[in-house]
Each structure stands twice: as structure tokens, then as C-alpha cells.
């Protein structure tokens, strides 16, 4: 991954910039309205946080309870330590049943394990059925937003894509394009041997998995094919069935600002013997893939409370400029900056904890009140300590600069002297109160933004004059 390079590219992409502002503004306004209209919103968030905290502190016990109850309902439970094992479990189920083609509903966890590529490599066709995901899959790309995966594409892009890949005439109305996708995907649903979904929640008490959506493709995925496999991160657990009455409104209102989504499916095992439809087999795959490693650090453990609503993306000043693809992995925005480094290993995503202004807008909208700035600082400190230990020149340089800075600002006379010197030294570069471009190493700052110039008359001197005149004290 290369956040610096990819984000620079994104910022220069005019089409992407307008799409990002458009979608994030819409979602932000809708979330704001929905949360304002919900009585006691803040208390509900507090309660949700308590429940998540409790669940994660007893994760082993609740996972065992979930497993027991899924089995009681006639389902099967698989445990996957990492992405490869999860892929193999799902491919195995497909192979044992002679499945040639799989329909998928939207799931970040399946993106995380690279399931589509794994299935294709095993000779099994995988078709994304969420409209946005279908578009992305046809284009051979990755989602750029948790809730709206294809926001970076215009109707014109999609028309051309459909014309090229599906052999339909060019049409630019979203209604027409949607109809084409509906007809194509109907055939896929009826012909698929297996449906793969994610899970928004898993309820330990009843062995129920919950899927929230608007299109109905997740309902088709979990109803029409004879086998249903759900992939769920181990942190998506809730202890009690009744917890859903709190978490469902929190999730939907934070995500899209709807009062509730069009469809919510609460799935408990496969079809019952006398039922006339629904899958004959239900498999739940529990995915660890680095999650258990996050537990050990008490300071960052709350990263596992996330319910993947996407509100932090829409409200993040950084995400709103750089978009989802800059984060280099499936999760983007503030949640990506904290969980990508922890799931992938901090050495593989050391830039991400720094891709934040620490403004805290994410924390303020998070439905489970994750303290993003705190977690980010913790991760930053880990990155820096590691760099210093491995003796990286830039890290040592940075540490020295900060030590120098501390020496200057904690000694008054040195500080005043430094200010006076800077006032003169800055003159060749000063343009209207700011420094536009400085020589190396300061160019590292001024290449991307201006640096405020030191004032000709510092406040300290002005204050002395005010004080002498007997001005305000």
C-alpha cells in the first residue's frame, strides 16, 4: 500500500472529488436528521457501547453459545483462523456439493478473505448481486465505500461498462441500467448452487444471524439456492436476541439515515423439514484473521466494537478528500485507519494511523462511541517506537527534531531568540503572511501546504504595550 501516492492521485481526480462530496454529504445529512429524531440517541449509543464491551470481554463464552445454538437449529459451524482457511472451508462446501456457481450478497468479510478470486481459482463462478458490487465486479475493481461501493462511478461509466461486458445497448437512465442488472441476476439466482452472505450481527442466545439491506439480493441469496454459507467476523456477536431492538436502529440510522432498512433477515438455521423454501443446508463460518490479536491490547481493543455502519467515513475530512481506494485494503476511512494496521500487521500499514487530523468527528458519530483519536495515537506511538528501534533514518531524524523543538519551547529565552531569528530568516520566502515553499527538509511540509509565517510583532510584544496603557487585564 502507498497512502501518500494513492491519496495524491485521488485528490487530483475531479470526477472522484465531486462524487465523494456528493455521497458523503447526503449520508451525513441523513444520519444527522435520523439521530436528531431518535429520542435519547446519545444514551442508546452509550448502552450499545456497554453491550459491545461486555460481549468482547466474554467473546469466547458467547462464541461457544452461538455455536451451540446454530447447531441446535440444524446449522453447521466452522472456525477459520485466517483468510486462507476461510476460503478453503467455503470452497470445500461448494466442491462437496458439486456447486459450479455461487451468488453473493454484499459482505466486507468476503472481500477481506479474497473469496471471489479463491472461488474462481477453484473453478467456481462467483457473482456479486448487490447492484453496486455487481458493477464493481464487472469493472474488476474494489469497493470504495462500505455502504455505497460504486460511488466513484458515474452513470456514463456504468452504461459503457454494461455495453462492453453485457452486450446491451448504451443506456444512461439509472432505471434502465437497474432493470438490466435485475434481469441478468435473476437468472444467476435461479441457477446458483450456493449463496454466500456476510452477517451484520450474530446472536448468541438464539444462534441467529442478521442481514440488513435495501435491495433484496441478500434475501434472494439466502432463500433461493439450496445451500447458504454465512461468513462472520468473530467480533460481530451480540449476546441476546433483544439486543437487536437497540442495534438495528443504531446501525441503519448511522449508515443511511433511514428509520429502518427495506429488508432485515433474521436467519436461524436451514429450512425446517416442512418448510417449502429456503436453503437445505446452513453453514456459519467464524472468521478470526487477526481479530483475536487485537484483544490483547486494552487501549485498542475497542476497535472490535465496530458494527460497520460507515458513518465515520462520511464524516471524516480525510476520507472525504482521498476516497476509499487510498487506504490500500478493504476497510477505509477512520475505521480503516485503526483496523487495517491491526488486522494486517502494523508493519504493512504504518501510514494509516497518520491519515487523520485527529479532529474526532468519527468519534462523535460512532454508534458505539469508539474513541478513534485515542486508538490512533496509541497506534502512532507503536509505529514510531518500532521505526526507532529498527534505526530508520527518518524516524531518528524526527525524534531528534522533536527533542530540539522541546528544548526550544520549554526555555523562554531560547524561544524568544529563535522567534526573532526566524522573523529575519523567513523573509525571502514570505508571501502575504504565509511561507509557500521552503528548502529541504522543510519542503516536506510546504510541498503540500503553506506554513504560517512568524508574525512581525508577536502577541507577547503587543501585550506589553496593551499592559502599559492599562488596557484590559
Amino acid at each position: 500500500m502507498n497512502f501518500e501516492r494513492d491519496s495524491a492521485r485521488a485528490v487530483g481526480d475531479k470526477k472522484l472529488q465531486s462524487a465523494l462530496i456528493n455521497v458523503t454529504d447526503r449520508f451525513r445529512a441523513a444520519r444527522k436528521r435520523a439521530s436528531d429524531e431518535t429520542p435519547g440517541w446519545d444514551d442508546l449509543r452509550g448502552r450499545a457501547r456497554e453491550i459491545k464491551k461486555h460481549t468482547i470481554a466474554h467473546l469466547d463464552e458467547y462464541l461457544l453459545e452461538l455455536e451451540r445454538n446454530v447447531r441446535k437449529a440444524g446449522g453447521r459451524v466452522h472456525w477459520a483462523r485466517d483468510a486462507e482457511e476461510a476460503r478453503n472451508i467455503i470452497i470445500d462446501i461448494a466442491r462437496r456439493n458439486g456447486v459450479k456457481s455461487v451468488v453473493k450478497s454484499k459482505s466486507m468479510a468476503t472481500e477481506e478473505i479474497g473469496l471471489n478470486d479463491g472461488l474462481e481459482a477453484a473453478g467456481i463462478r462467483a457473482v456479486e448481486t448487490d447492484l453496486g458490487e455487481y458493477i464493481i465486479q464487472l469493472a474488476g475493481e474494489h469497493p470504495s465505500h462500505i455502504i455505497a461501493p460504486a460511488i466513484h462511478k458515474t452513470r456514463h461509466d456504468i452504461s459503457e461498462l454494461f455495453a462492453e461486458k453485457l452486450g446491451v445497448p448504451y443506456m444512461s437512465e439509472p432505471q434502465e441500467l437497474t432493470k438490466v442488472a435485475r434481469e441478468r441476476l435473476r437468472g444467476e439466482f435461479l441457477g446458483a448452487g450456493m449463496g454466500v452472505s456476510g452477517a451484520n450481527f450474530g446472536v448468541a442466545e438464539t444462534g441467529t444471524i442478521v442481514i440488513v439491506e435495501n435491495e433484496g439480493n441478500a434475501r434472494l441469496t439466502t432463500t433461493v439456492p439450496p445451500i447458504h454459507v454465512a461468513l462472520m467476523g468473530i467480533e460481530k456477536l451480540l449476546p441476546r436476541f433483544g439486543d437487536l431492538s437497540l442495534f438495528l436502529p443504531l446501525l441503519v440510522r448511522s449508515a443511511t439515515g433511514q428509520k429502518t432498512s427495506t429488508y432485515i433477515s433474521l436467519i436461524t438455521g436451514p429450512r425446517r423439514d416442512a418448510d417449502k423454501d429456503g436453503p437445505r443446508e446452513f453453514h456459519l463460518v467464524l472468521l478470526d484473521n487477526g481479530r483475536s490479536g487485537i484483544l490483547a491490547d486494552r487501549e485498542t481493543r475497542e476497535s472490535l466494537y465496530c458494527i460497520r455502519c460507515g458513518a465515520c467515513l462520511n464524516n471524516c475530512p480525510v476520507y472525504r478528500k482521498v476516497g476509499g481506494h487510498s487506504y490500500g485494503w478493504v476497510y477505509s476511512g477512520p475505521i480503516g485507519t485503526i483496523i487495517n494496521p491491526q488486522l494486517m500487521g502494523i508493519d504493512r500499514a504504518p501510514e494509516l494511523p497518520f491519515a487523520s487530523s485527529l479532529c474526532g468527528a468519527c468519534r462523535d458519530v460512532c454508534p458505539v462511541k469508539i474513541d478513534f483519536p485515542k486508538v490512533l495515537l496509541e497506534l502512532r506511538s507503536k509505529v514510531v517506537t518500532r521505526k526507532e528501534k529498527t534505526g530508520q533514518a527518518a524516524a531518528i531524524m524526527e525524534a531528534l527534531s522533536f527533542r530540539f523543538w522541546r528544548a526550544v519551547v520549554t526555555h523562554r529565552r531560547i524561544y524568544e531568540l529563535a522567534l526573532r531569528l526566524s522573523r529575519h530568516a523567513q523573509r525571502p520566502w514570505k508571501r502575504g503572511g504565509v511561507l509557500r515553499s521552503l528548502p529541504y527538509p522543510f519542503s516536506r511540509w510546504t510541498d503540500e501546504r503553506d506554513f504560517p509565517a512568524v508574525s512581525e510583532t508577536p502577541f507577547r510584544e503587543r501585550w506589553r504595550k496593551i499592559d502599559r496603557k492599562g488596557g484590559p487585564r
Binding site: 467473546l59 472456525w79 435491495e215 433484496g216 429488508y263 436461524t268
Partner: protein, 224 residues
């Protein structure tokens, strides 16, 4: 393979949490606040009206009828659309109204629930919602042998019949009721579905489009 993975994941979790292998004494589940539905006053007699208002905000048509008027309504509704076949739930209530017989008598075909392609070819699916939620305009459907999931999902039009006494005020009340029913594990259906409005997407430039995968039209008949 899987058995080892299970043990290993549980071991990693316990290690991460700083616990012994047996799992130690649980600290209690966070205590319930006084009432979860803060500010959600019971709507009383106005429940059906609130439900109606919620539905009209989400592209859903609402109708009212007395028990005696249901059959006439449904027959008229279907005639108006000129469909040749339909699928319908076999609940005690719908059977007591004689809807299926009457429509078949009128020359329409019923698609059996086992036949997905058959249901896909029908013009309309008719269900009876087990519950409705006034606050959100949601229908709640519990799957069962006579109540297949495809009927509310696969045809382009879904007509749901809601008995007025099954309208609840909000999601908190609904989960209270479901919790009561699901106390015995055997009573939990394979699928509990919440439906709020017709199928929708905004994946292309945030343009709202109805009927992307599920029904394009949702019609609700409230029976008092």
C-alpha cells in the same frame, strides 16, 4: 483441521483477554435501563393511523377494509392488474377468507411455493403479515410451512394483509413479543423477515430506483 482451529482461536481469545482456559466468572450482562423505548409513548387507538402514515412515506400504498370486504378488495386488485397467476400464503386466516379458491375460480393459476421459477413467473404474491410496526411502517413475516419466503420476495408485486390487532408500536415492543414466542428454541422460525417498503437501491449516482431485486410495488391492506 476445523477442530484444531476452533481450539486455537478460543485459546488466542482467552490469552488476549488474560483469562484461564476454563473461562472465569462472568461479570453480569449490562443492566437494562428502566425502559428501553425512551419517549416512545403508546399510540393507543391511533396505531393503525401511525402505521398508515409511516407507509405513505416509503412508497407503499395503503388500503383499509373490514373483514367482509377483504375478498372483494383482493379480487378487484388482481383484476385491475390483469395478472394470470399468483402465489399466496396458506395461513388459517387467509384460508378462512377463501381468497385462493375464489381467485382460482376466477380462472387464475396458483404457483406452488416449491416452484421458484413458477413463483418468479407470477405477477403477484399475497401474504399475511404476522406483525406490523407502526413507528417504522415495517411488516414482520415469520417463515413456516404454509408461509414460504419467496412469496413476498420474488413476484414484482407484493400485497400484504395486516390485521389491525397485530400492529405494534415500535421495534422495542416487537422484540418483546418475539422474545416471548422464541423462548422455546423449537419455536424459532428459519427466517424472520422485516419488510419496510419496496426493494430499493441508490447505487447509481445515488438515484433512488425501486424494484432492483425484490418487488417493485408494495401494497398493504389493513383489516379492522
Amino acid at each position: 483441521m476445523t477442530a484444531d482451529s476452533r481450539e486455537e482461536i478460543l485459546h488466542r481469545i482467552r490469552k488476549g483477554l488474560g483469562k484461564g482456559e476454563g473461562g472465569e466468572g462472568k461479570d453480569p450482562y449490562p443492566p437494562e435501563p428502566g425502559s428501553s423505548s425512551a419517549g416512545a409513548e403508546p399510540y393507543g387507538d391511533g396505531l393503525a393511523r401511525v402505521f398508515e402514515e409511516s407507509l405513505s412515506g416509503i412508497d407503499t400504498s395503503v388500503y383499509r377494509a373490514g373483514r367482509d370486504g377483504v375478498l372483494e378488495f383482493v379480487t378487484g386488485f388482481i383484476k385491475e392488474r390483469g395478472v394470470k397467476s399468483f402465489s399466496i400464503w396458506e395461513t388459517e386466516y387467509l384460508e378462512s377468507l377463501g381468497i385462493a379458491e375464489s381467485l382460482e375460480g376466477g380462472g387464475l393459476d396458483i404457483a406452488p411455493a416449491e416452484d421458484k421459477a413458477g413463483i418468479a413467473g407470477t405477477g403477484i404474491g399475497i401474504t399475511e403479515a404476522d406483525y406490523a410496526i407502526a413507528d417504522t411502517g415495517s411488516l414482520v413475516l415469520l417463515s413456516a410451512p404454509g408461509k414460504p419466503r419467496g412469496v413476498s420476495l420474488i413476484p414484482p408485486v407484493h400485497l400484504a394483509i395486516v390485521r389491525k390487532e397485530n400492529i405494534l408500536s415500535d421495534m422495542w415492543e416487537l422484540f418483546g413479543v418475539l422474545n416471548g414466542i422464541y423462548e422455546s428454541h423449537d419455536a424459532i422460525p428459519a427466517c424472520t423477515t422485516f419488510i419496510t417498503g419496496p426493494s430499493r437501491t441508490a447505487d447509481i449516482e445515488l438515484n433512488l430506483t425501486l424494484g432492483v431485486h425484490g418487488p417493485k410495488e408494495l401494497h398493504v391492506l389493513i383489516v379492522s
